[in-house]
C-alpha cells in the first residue's frame, strides 16, 4: 500500500481491555487506504501518572513514546484524553520529538488529515454521542465526531442533553472522590437514558467505561460503543456486540 504510514496508538487501556476498538481502527483506516502499523514497543503515555501527581514517572514514558513513534507520518489514538496528554503535555515533560505534534485523536485524523467525513459506514441503530472533556476542551475536536456520525448510513443520531458535562471519570478522581464521581455519573446516565438511544458512543474508552459501567449496573439496556467501532461497521461487515 502507498497510503499514509499511520502508527496506531490504541492506548494501554484499549489494548488491554477494549481490543475490539483497536481492531475496528485497523479495519477502518485500512479501508480508507492507510498503511497501518502497530509499534509493539509502545506501552502507556503516562497520563494516569501525570494527572495523579507523578510527573516524574510520566517523564520517561513521554520520552519512550517519542522514541517508539519516531518516523511515522501520523499517530492515531482512539482516545481524546491520551491524544491530549501526548500533544499538550508531553512537550512540557521532555523535549519530546515532533511525534507529539503528529498525534491525533481518531475523528481529527479522519476529518483534518484524511479529509473524509463519510467513511462509508453503516450502523442501523439509535445513537447518542458524549463529547468527552479532553476531546472537547483540550484538543478542540468540535463537531468532527458528530459530522462523522451524521454521515453513517442507517444511524439515527439523537442529541444528548447537557452533553458537555463531564461524566465524572477523571482517572483516579473516580477513586479518590468516588461519591462525587458517582453523582456526576448519575446525571450523565439520566441524560443518556432520556435520549432513548440504544447506543452511547464517545471517542474515549475511559469515559465509556465509566458510563457503560454505570448503565450496566442499572441494566439500562443502553450499550457503550466506541466511535471507531461504529465507523468501522459496514453493510458487509457489520458491528457485532461482544458478549
Amino acid at each position: 500500500m502507498n497510503g499514509p504510514r499511520v502508527a496506531l496508538f490504541p492506548t494501554c487501556l484499549t489494548d488491554t481491555a477494549f481490543p475490539e476498538t483497536a481492531k475496528a481502527m485497523v479495519r477502518l483506516l485500512e479501508r480508507l487506504g492507510c498503511d497501518v502499523e502497530f509499534p509493539l514497543d509502545q506501552t502507556c503515555c503516562g497520563q494516569m501518572h501525570f494527572n495523579t501527581g507523578y510527573a516524574d514517572h510520566a517523564r520517561p514514558m513521554a520520552r519512550a513514546f517519542a522514541d517508539v513513534f519516531d518516523g511515522y507520518d501520523h499517530i492515531v489514538a482512539p482516545s481524546g484524553s491520551c491524544a491530549g496528554m501526548v500533544r499538550e503535555i508531553h512537550p512540557n515533560l521532555c523535549d519530546s520529538s515532533s511525534a507529539a505534534l503528529r498525534t491525533y485523536e481518531l475523528s481529527e485524523f479522519l476529518v483534518d488529515v484524511l479529509g473524509v467525513v463519510d467513511v462509508g459506514a453503516h450502523f442501523p441503530h439509535r445513537v447518542t454521542y458524549h463529547p468527552t472533556c479532553h476531546s472537547l476542551r483540550m484538543l478542540g475536536v468540535g463537531d468532527k465526531p458528530l459530522r462523522l456520525l451524521r454521515a453513517v448510513s442507517g444511524l439515527e443520531l439523537i442529541p444528548l442533553p447537557q452533553a458537555e458535562q463531564c461524566c465524572g471519570f477523571g482517572g483516579t478522581f473516580a477513586l479518590k472522590n468516588a461519591e462525587t464521581s458517582t453523582a456526576m455519573l448519575a446525571d450523565k446516565m439520566r441524560c443518556v437514558q432520556d435520549t432513548g438511544a440504544q447506543v452511547v458512543t464517545a471517542g474515549d474508552n475511559s469515559c465509556l467505561m465509566q458510563i457503560g459501567g454505570g448503565l450496566s449496573r442499572l441494566r439500562a439496556g443502553v450499550r457503550p460503543v466506541h466511535l471507531a467501532e461504529i465507523l468501522a461497521s459496514t453493510q458487509e461487515e457489520p458491528w457485532v456486540a461482544t458478549p
Binding site: 490504541p10 494501554c12 487501556l13 484499549t14 489494548d15 488491554t16 481491555a17 481490543p19 475490539e20 483497536a22 481492531k23 502497530f38 509493539l40 514497543d41 506501552t43 502507556c44 503516562g46 494516569m48 501518572h49 501525570f50 494527572n51 495523579t52 501527581g53 507523578y54 510527573a55 516524574d56 514517572h57 520517561p60 514514558m61 519512550a64 472533556c133 479532553h134 472537547l136 476542551r137 458537555e164 458535562q165 463531564c166 465524572g168 471519570f169 477523571g170 483516579t172 478522581f173 473516580a174 477513586l175 479518590k176 472522590n177 468516588a178 462525587t180 458517582t182 453523582a183 456526576m184 455519573l185 467505561m209 465509566q210 457503560g212 459501567g213 454505570g214 450496566s216 449496573r217 458478549p243
Partner: protein, 473 residues
C-alpha cells in the same frame, strides 16, 4: 506567624466533606438551580461580544504584566494614593492585617463597623479578629447578611449564600427587628434594606475590599450590585480598604478590559448595577479619611511558583465555580475555605502554603480535570495545569512510602518496559489496575470504590497486541 486562616481549621479533607454534602438533597437542588441559571445567562452575555477572546487575552497579559512588575506597581499605587490624601499600610499576613484594621477602628473610637463584601477580609478572618478586639463588624451584602445571621459559612465567592433557597432565607431573617412577611425575594431584599439602613447612617467606619487598584492614578475600584457598597464607600467618615497585592493594575486604561470581563463573567450582566471608583480623599464628598491595607498573606510565596502563580491573575468572578461539575454537586463549604470551587482548589492550598496539611492537600484532587473552568476563565487561568502541578507537589510532600506512591512506582516500572507490560497484561493484573476489573461486580479496595456503583468491563480473552501478533506479526 500563625496558621493562615484561608482554610478553615478543623475542616475535613475534601472527599469526606463532599460525601456529607452529597447527602444533602436540598443543597444539591439549590445549587443545581442556581448554577444552571447563571451558566445560561453568562453564555448569552458573553456571546454578545465578538471580541471576547481578545478581551480575555488582554486580561491575561495585563495580569501577567502586574505579576512581573508587582513591586513597581505597588510602589506606584502607594505613591498615588498617598498623594491624594490616603494612607497606605502593608500587611505580611492575616494577623498583621487584622491588627492594622483593629487599631484604625479603635483610633476612630468605633465599636462597630459596616462592611462591604470582600474576599480578602473573609480570607484573613477579619470579622472574628475585630470581634475579639471588641469591634462589631456588620456585613451589608445581602448574601453575607444571610451567612452572618445564619451563623453559617460562605459557599461561593460571589453569592456566599448560594446554598440557601428563599424559604431558608426567610427563616434566617426571622430574627430581624422587622422580619420579612414572605419568602418572595423582593420582600427578603426589603427586609435587608430596613435592617441595614440605620447601621449605614450611624457607622463612623466602613471596611471594604477592592476589585482593582490602579497604580497610575491611585484609583480603587469596587464592583457591586446592591448599593451597600456605595453606602459604605460614601457615608462613614473613615474608609479602610483591604486589598490583596495582586489586585493592582498598571494603567487607568486597563479598566476598559476588566470592566467588560468581570460583570459578564460574574453576575452574567452587561454591567453590574454599581461600580464605585475613587482616589484618596475628595474634600466634601465621601469619607475624609482613607486607609489602604496592602495584603500579602501567602501571595508572594504563590508568586514564586512559576506554574502556580497564574492563580494570582484571578479577578474573583466565580465563573469557574458556576460551570464546575464537582462544585455543582458538593457546594462550596466542602472545600473548607473562603475560596471554593476550581479557583479555591488551586488558590487556597497555595496561600495556605502547607501541603502536609491533609485538608489543603486534598483540594487539588477535587477535580475530574474536565477543563470547563479554564474555558470560561476571563483571565485564562489554566486551572487543570495548576491542579496537576499542585498534585505533584502534594505527592512530593507525602513521600514515596504511601500505598499510592508504591502502586504508582510499580505501575511505572511495568510500563517502563514492553516485556514487563505484556507479562502484566497476560497475568490480568494490568486489567485490574487499569480497568479496575476482576470478579466483575465486587472488587477489593480501591477497586471497590469503582464497583460500588458501576460494573467493571469484562476481561477480554486476548489483548489487542496478541491479536495483532497472531494476525499481522
Amino acid at each position: 506567624m500563625g496558621r493562615n486562616p484561608v482554610t478553615w481549621l478543623g475542616s475535613p479533607a475534601f472527599p469526606d466533606a463532599a460525601r456529607r454534602a452529597l447527602d444533602d438533597t436540598q443543597l444539591r437542588g439549590n445549587l443545581r438551580k442556581a448554577t444552571t441559571t447563571i451558566r445560561g445567562k453568562r453564555e448569552s452575555v458573553v456571546s454578545e461580544l465578538d471580541d471576547w477572546e481578545e478581551l480575555r487575552r488582554a486580561g491575561e497579559s495585563i495580569k501577567d504584566d502586574v505579576l512581573t512588575n508587582l513591586d513597581t506597581y505597588l510602589e506606584r499605587l502607594e505613591a498615588a494614593v498617598t498623594e491624594r490624601g490616603g494612607v497606605v499600610h502593608w500587611a505580611r499576613d492575616a494577623d498583621e492585617a487584622n491588627r492594622i484594621v483593629l487599631d484604625l477602628a479603635r483610633q476612630e473610637g468605633a465599636d462597630g463597623v459596616v462592611k462591604v463584601k470582600s474576599m480578602a477580609t473573609a480570607e484573613i478572618g477579619l470579622n472574628e479578629a475585630l470581634a475579639d478586639g471588641g469591634v462589631d463588624a456588620i456585613e451589608t451584602d445581602l448574601a453575607e447578611v444571610i451567612v452572618q445571621l445564619g451563623n453559617d459559612r460562605p459557599s461561593h465567592i460571589l453569592v456566599p449564600a448560594i446554598h440557601r433557597n428563599r424559604a431558608e432565607i426567610k427563616e434566617i431573617f426571622a430574627q430581624m427587628p422587622e422580619p420579612p412577611d414572605s419568602d418572595d425575594p423582593r420582600a427578603l431584599a426589603e427586609a435587608a434594606r430596613k435592617y441595614l439602613r440605620r447601621k449605614f447612617l450611624s457607622s463612623k467606619v466602613a471596611i471594604s475590599g477592592a476589585n482593582f487598584g490602579v497604580a497610575e492614578t491611585g484609583s480603587i475600584v469596587v464592583v457591586e450590585s446592591e448599593g451597600n457598597g456605595r453606602m459604605c464607600l460614601t457615608l462613614p467618615e473613615t474608609l479602610i480598604t483591604v486589598m490583596g497585592i495582586e489586585k493592582v493594575l498598571p494603567r487607568w486604561q486597563d479598566l476598559e478590559v476588566f470592566l467588560q470581563l468581570l460583570p459578564r463573567s460574574s453576575t452574567a450582566e452587561r454591567m453590574n448595577p454599581y461600580t464605585s471608583i475613587w482616589s484618596g480623599v475628595t474634600p466634601g464628598d465621601g469619607p475624609q479619611k482613607f486607609h489602604l491595607v496592602l495584603l500579602d498573606n501567602g501571595r508572594t510565596s504563590t508568586l514564586a511558583d512559576e506554574v502556580g502563580r497564574q492563580a494570582l491573575r484571578c479577578i474573583r468572578c466565580s465563573a469557574c465555580l458556576n460551570v464546575c461539575p464537582v462544585y455543582e454537586r458538593t457546594g462550596g463549604q466542602a472545600y473548607g475555605s473562603v475560596y471554593p470551587g476550581p479557583i479555591g482548589a488551586i488558590l487556597a492550598p497555595q496561600l495556605a502554603g502547607d501541603l502536609h496539611d491533609e485538608q489543603a492537600a486534598s483540594l487539588p484532587y477535587a477535580s475530574s480535570l474536565c477543563g470547563a473552568c479554564y474555558e470560561v476563565c476571563p483571565v485564562r487561568i489554566n486551572i487543570p495545569e495548576v491542579l496537576t502541578h499542585l498534585r505533584a507537589e502534594v505527592v512530593e510532600a507525602k513521600g514515596k512510602r504511601t500505598p499510592e506512591a508504591m502502586a504508582m512506582s510499580a505501575a511505572a516500572w511495568v510500563f517502563g518496559d514492553r516485556r514487563r507490560y505484556e507479562a502484566a497484561q497476560r497475568a490480568g493484573s494490568l486489567t485490574r489496575f487499569l480497568a479496575r476489573d476482576g470478579t466483575l461486580s465486587s472488587l477489593p479496595w480501591p477497586g471497590s470504590k469503582w464497583t460500588d456503583t458501576r460494573d467493571a468491563p469484562v476481561v477480554p480473552k486476548e489483548s489487542f497486541r496478541s491479536w495483532w501478533r497472531r494476525n499481522r506479526g
